[in-house]
């Protein structure tokens, strides 16, 4: 009787584990199968902050509404990382900032004199590499230097050059800022700031770090909700335009553009045209402050503007 128990237990154990393995194997197979592509699939990637998530969702949903097959990879990383994804073919579409294309991807020391010139230069540079830069958005989002209101008052800070008045201090920003002409390198070189130590912020927000005093000044983005009305932070002026012109324009692999034709470009450009400064600020606020999901915010926006 005991022997029957034991062998039954062993058989049961084997059967159960085999069953579980098969079930999970099937599961994995189902989920691992790549989306079947009837025609070219648009693979959209985004960088690693909410505004990019919103942009990604906007383009993704608009294209899907027009019948295109879209695959979506959110939060790939900052410019340097997402460029790798683009050039290695893991993605073929992502929303980039025109000044970043010129000054970061192509390492020019300055972007064009106007927003239009910057976009045209970006277009030219990317075309030579096999990528098409589509139309730019009305809105722009540049890096800006921010300090808390208290700090601004204490040292009398109005523009970035005023930071020379402070003793040695810590400057916080996303890691890649340290080596960029549109960021820390630009600030220190163009304004002659020698007393700043760069602190890379990998996980926490610059605003949180400013609040708790671990950094004195930070590189943040001009469309961030904390900089809106009644802000606790002061943005320092950048008269030399170090941060360049930063409208958004999607970079798409030229072969994808050619194969998908004018319907594709029209759809994408129609979305870009609607993205005014106020629109993006409102969407950022909805996602960052009101904690809505980027997907639902994008969906609401597209529907209201007849793009979905």
């Amino acid at each position: 009787m005991i022997r029957k128990h034991r062998s039954r237990a062993a058989k049961a154990a084997f059967a159960i584990s085999l069953g579980v393995a098969i079930v999970i194997g099937l599961f994995a197979a189902v989920f691992a199968r790549p989306a079947n592509s009837a025609g070219t699939t648009v693979i959209i990637g985004t960088k690693n902050f909410p505004e990019e998530f919103i942009l990604g969702q906007l383009y993704k949903q608009a294209l899907q509404a027009k019948g295109f097959t879209v695959s979506y990879k959110e939060n790939i990383g900052s410019t340097e990382l997402i460029q790798t994804s683009l050039t290695s073919g893991k993605i073929n579409f992502y929303p980039e900032y025109t000044g970043v294309i010129v000054q970061v991807v192509f390492h020019k020391t300055s972007s064009g004199k106007t927003a239009l010139a910057t976009w045209q230069l970006a277009k030219k540079l990317e075309a030579a590499k096999g990528y098409t830069v589509l139309n730019r958005t009305p809105f722009y989002d540049t890096d800006v230097v921010a300090v808390t209101n208290a700090t601004a008052k204490k040292y009398g800070l109005k523009s970035i050059a005023d930071l020379k008045k402070v003793g040695s201090f810590k400057f916080g920003g996303f890691p890649e800022c340290k080596t960029r002409n549109t960021c820390f390198v630009g600030y220190t070189k163009q304004y002659g700031i020698t007393n700043a130590t760069f602190t890379p912020l990998a996980g926490i927000s610059a605003y949180a770090a400013l609040d708790n005093g671990s950094i004195l000044a930070a590189d943040v983005f001009s469309t961030d909700p904390p900089l809106g009305k009644g802000s606790k932070y002061t943005v320092l002026a950048d008269p030399k335009h170090v941060t360049g012109f930063q409208n958004v324009a999607p970079i798409v692999k030229t072969s994808v553009v050619t194969s998908l034709g004018s319907k594709f470009t029209t759809t994408v450009n129609a979305v870009s045209a609607k993205l005014t400064q106020n629109a993006i600020v409102a969407m950022n606020k909805a996602v960052i402050v009101d904690k809505q999901s980027a997907a639902s915010v994008a969906s609401a926006f597209l529907k209201a503007n007849g793009l979905k």
Partner: protein
């Protein structure tokens, strides 16, 4: 570096060269790495200190009175199952960003194995020895000091070692919450490239190994000679759950 004329080469190609680069990184940045390592040791030490102050006495007492076995055993499951990320994030919301929140989170993480092993160590002491001691007229406290604790040292130290290594090896994640240390490099592949990340990781491994060896040394020093003849390492946590 890696960004040539607009075309980003695939991060760092996967080959032995990356290890060579990592070695170069370590060689070129010894001062920086040393500062970071000390930062990490400070954080880990503080966390371990708290865990020792709280979990060790608790485990010993529970084991001595043969009570609370579910808590003690459950502690190790909870210790393994509490994602360090969740702990760090949760404490960040309450204690802000910096040293304190990470110290507390890591202390909680280290308390699991400490509690279980100190409980086990004391609880499993040969009952005959304990009875003999009581028969000789020793009070509970004297039994604990003179018999149970010395015999429990191998298991207790295993617990301390596991806790210490866990804390040191988990500390890098605290970098995303302002914890500093070598983690600042590891979470920042963008700034320090893969060679930096690998270099810093190797340093973390070395640090863990150092801590392991140091604690074993302390254990040998502290173990009474009679007990030392038995296993120094003690039973790992592979008991039937």
């Amino acid at each position: 570096m890696g960004l040539e004329g607009g075309r980003v080469t695939l991060a760092d190609a996967a080959n032995l060269h990356t290890f060579v680069d990592a070695a170069h990184f370590i060689a070129n940045n010894t001062g920086f790495l040393a500062t970071k390592a000390l930062e990490q040791l400070a954080l880990s030490g503080a966390a371990l200190g708290i865990a020792l102050a709280v979990a060790l006495p608790l485990g010993v007492l529970l084991g001595h009175f043969h009570r609370g076995s579910t808590i003690a055993i459950g502690a190790s499951i909870v210790g393994r199952g509490l994602p360090s990320l969740v702990l760090i994030a949760a404490f960040l919301t309450v204690l802000g960003i910096g040293f304190v929140n990470n110290m507390v989170a890591l202390a909680v993480l280290g308390s699991g194995p400490l509690l279980t092993n100190s409980y086990d160590g004391v609880e499993r002491v040969d009952r005959d020895a304990v009875e003999a001691a009581r028969g000789m007229g020793m009070t509970g406290w004297q039994v604990l000091r003179g018999v149970e604790l010395p015999l429990a040292i191998p298991l207790i130290f295993t617990g301390i070692r596991v806790a210490a290594v866990t804390i040191v090896a988990t500390a890098p994640i605290a970098a995303i919450a302002g914890g500093g240390g070598l983690g600042d490099i590891i979470v920042n592949q963008a700034s320090y490239r893969l060679s930096g990340v690998l270099g810093a990781s190797i340093c973390v491994m070395l640090l863990s190994a150092l801590v392991f060896v140091a604690l074993t040394g302390v254990q040998i020093a502290v173990t009474p000679r009679g007990v030392r003849r038995t296993s120094v390492v003690g039973e790992p946590q592979r008991r039937e759950l």
